[in-house]
């Protein structure tokens, strides 16, 4: 199963600031009442978007940022529930990369497995990018996983990403299913060595 090599992602940005943005906020539980991931994009940040006071607009609904494909946020992004619906909704809305200070672990793993690049950057750098974006919403942002840098409006900021995840994206093996399937025989041997697995359960 050849997968695309995800090396650079370029596009316009959009910022949903804040720390500890949980997956319930990213996609409220009622949107999980389905047997497929179809249509999840519409539920992205649904309640947060509805809760915006009159006269203001949520970044996701701000016409200036329409068509953005790079999402900016704060620390511990994606904490809470393990629902893969969260990165799926982000993807389906049209984002290909997230730039945040840090991520909750399960979210990060889920995102990588579906090829959504979650890179980390310093708070000050994220603020710089957001400020530049505010001045020029059409500004192009490039997330370069190979050079490990973010380029925007003639400026540059370093990015970090866990080696295993970066390697997986850059080399087109972010979905591990192929490799795991290749290891099925080895897995059966490991299972045979474990007494509780060697005997089929009742």
């Amino acid at each position: 199963m050849p997968l695309a090599k995800i090396t650079t992602l370029a596009g316009r940005g959009l910022s949903v600031p804040g720390n500890d943005i949980d997956t319930d906020r990213i996609i409220p539980a009622r949107f999980l009442k389905a047997v497929t991931f179809e249509g999840l994009g519409e539920g992205l940040f649904y309640d947060a978007r509805k809760a915006v006071p009159a006269g203001q607009v949520h970044p996701l609904d701000d016409p200036r940022f329409r068509g953005a494909s790079i999402l900016l946020s704060g620390a511990n992004f994606g904490c809470g529930s393990s629902r893969e619906h969260a990165p799926q909704a982000i993807r389906k809305f049209g984002f290909h990369a997230v730039i945040a200070e840090s991520y909750a672990e399960i979210f990060f793993g889920n995102a990588t497995t579906i090829g959504l690049a979650c890179v980390s950057a310093d708070r000050a750098d994220i603020a710089r990018i957001a400020a530049a974006m505010e001045g020029d919403p059409a500004m192009a942002i490039t997330v370069d996983l190979v050079k490990q840098e973010i380029r925007f409006g003639g400026s540059m900021a370093p990015l970090t990403m866990r080696d295993a995840a970066r390697d997986a994206l850059v080399n087109g093996r972010w979905d591990p299913i192929g490799e795991l399937l290749d290891g099925r025989e080895a897995a059966a041997m490991t299972a045979a060595r474990l007494p509780y697995l060697a005997v089929p359960a009742k």
């Binding site: 497929t36 393990s82 672990e105 497995t113 390697d167 093996r173 290891g183 060595r193």
Partner: protein, 470 residues
């Protein structure tokens, strides 16, 4: 060399190293439920794959089931489609499924232990972040995403990098009226909601040695709220006594052999940890959250934080955002805050011992006028045991609604929801914005007895005062 339980279990289940450096890890036990599995079965179908080890996957239905009217079809067609899809997938792949009619249905994290499926020294995965609960038995149990559910179904393995291990000792004795829930809320408050990123938490010390399995489960359950994907307690006699005689527990000579193996999986004396934290049990108060993440907790005797007194800009904005959402007043006591709903349930605190402890104190008290109070056993078995002991009647007499087993108002994917900006005293694990089903609903996390105290007073109260605990 002396090793931690984590290292031993990890090694025993390591299949091989993958190209990106991650480990292909064997998953001994796989648990599934109706919300995060249908898409995984769909992916399997798309790839033309079969379930590799169907006898190592167990299913139940918990998130979407109604807790009152349970005849099918359910009133909610989406929920009805989900239970039918799970039933169909389990039948098609030969997976054991604890359905509503089995008498063994319940929240997935209650069913595993009750059935003796959750065992020491094993790896357990489930498409649910509170899988950490099973770590109470000395298992490496972790929440996974739906693509990984697919991976487990197809290969019985996942790709994962090992975690560091932080040992957390809680020494001394808990004060009266302080529970396992307070221990974990206090730990999260102390170490932060992302303090556990990259770590497995190994809980130990006097308090854990003395804890029952149910108390250990309450703490391990909320490891994820502290950012730790895995939390565990080393197996000991308490663990073995709990497992003895359960439907899936080994018997006869196999039991003796298993106990020997289980003992050997515990962390060795003198093993080294990546980090060590020690907490004095006597310092832990009955704790209540006031904000929008589980780390925003205070002692019942404390005042709600004031952003003006925050030392960092970050902290200030976090407090402001939380108070704006929670509609609470900076600097005011949390005690006395009026509540609308009391919810006693969830995989954190809906076990027999939770209801028993509350019933013991609730007898003779009444839920305050205007408060909707619901008690939801986490499993059908807990419901039956409570009925046998007359516990359900104590709750009903006090004015609680006594419901059937499920996740219920913990995340409100079923009809049990907050309405508008109702404030709920809840024994569950998450106080995120909108968590309990209303986009403006508000949640205060606390121990079951504190939920009962709030229900009786109609406002947040110190259970020690309400019930004369000393």
């Amino acid at each position: 060399m002396a090793q931690t339980l984590f290292q031993k279990v990890w090694q025993a289940h390591s299949v091989r190293t993958l190209a990106n450096g991650q480990t292909q890890l064997l998953v001994g036990t796989h648990l599934i439920h109706e919300v995060t599995s249908p898409q995984a079965f769909g992916m399997l179908r798309d790839l033309g794959l079969k379930v590799a080890m169907p006898h190592r996957t167990f299913a139940t239905v918990d998130h979407i089931v109604p807790t009152d009217q349970r005849t099918e079809p359910f009133g909610d067609p989406l929920a009805d489609a989900m239970i039918k899809e799970l039933r169909r997938n389990c039948a098609a792949h030969g997976i054991t499924y604890f359905d509503l009619a089995s008498g063994r249905q319940g929240i997935v994290h209650m069913v595993g232990p009750e059935q003796g499926i959750t065992q020491p020294g094993t790896t357990i995965a489930c498409g649910d972040s509170h899988t950490s609960t099973h770590g109470a038995f000395g298992a490496i149990a972790l929440g996974i995403g739906t693509s990984q559910v697919r991976d487990v179904l197809a290969t019985q393995t996942i790709a994962l990098a090992p975690l560091k291990v932080r040992r957390i000792n809680v020494e001394g004795r808990l004060r009266p009226g302080v529970y396992a829930k307070d221990v974990i809320l206090h730990l999260i408050r102390t170490l932060g909601v992302n303090g556990g990123t990259g770590f497995a938490y190994e809980y130990g010390g006097e308090v854990f040695d003395r804890f029952s399995m149910e108390e250990r489960m309450t703490v391990c359950n909320m490891s994820i709220e502290g950012g730790a994907r895995v939390g565990y307690v080393n197996p000991d006699e308490t663990t073995f006594a709990y497992l003895k005689g359960r439907p899936y527990s080994p018997t006869g000579a196999a039991w003796d052999a298993a106990v020997q193996r289980w003992k050997a999986t515990a962390s060795d004396a003198g093993c080294s940890y990546d980090d060590l934290v020690t907490i004095q049990a006597g310092d832990i108060p009955p704790t209540v959250t006031w904000g929008i993440n589980p780390g925003q907790g205070i002692a019942i005797t404390e005042n709600i934080p004031d952003p003006a007194k925050a030392t960092a800009a970050d902290e200030k904005s976090a407090i402001e955002e939380a108070l704006a959402y929670m509609k609470l007043k900076a600097g005011a006591p949390i005690k006395g805050t009026r509540i609308d709903v009391a919810f006693l349930g969830s995989c954190t605190n809906a076990r027999l011992s939770d209801f028993k402890e509350v019933a013991r104190h609730l007898k003779g008290h009444r839920v305050a006028a205007g408060v909707k109070a619901i008690a939801v056993p986490g499993s059908q078995i807990v419901g039956r045991l409570c009925a046998e002991l007359g516990i359900d009647q104590v709750f009903r007499d006090a004015g609680f609604e006594w419901r059937e087993a499920g996740c219920s108002m913990c995340l409100a994917m079923n009809p049990d929801k907050l309405v508008g900006d109702q404030l709920c005293a809840s024994s569950s694990n998450r106080n995120f914005k909108g968590r309990q089903g209303s986009p403006t609903g508000r949640t205060l996390l606390m121990s079951p007895l504190m939920v009962a105290a709030a229900a009786v007073r109609g406002s947040v109260a110190d259970a020690r005062e309400v019930f004369g605990v000393s």
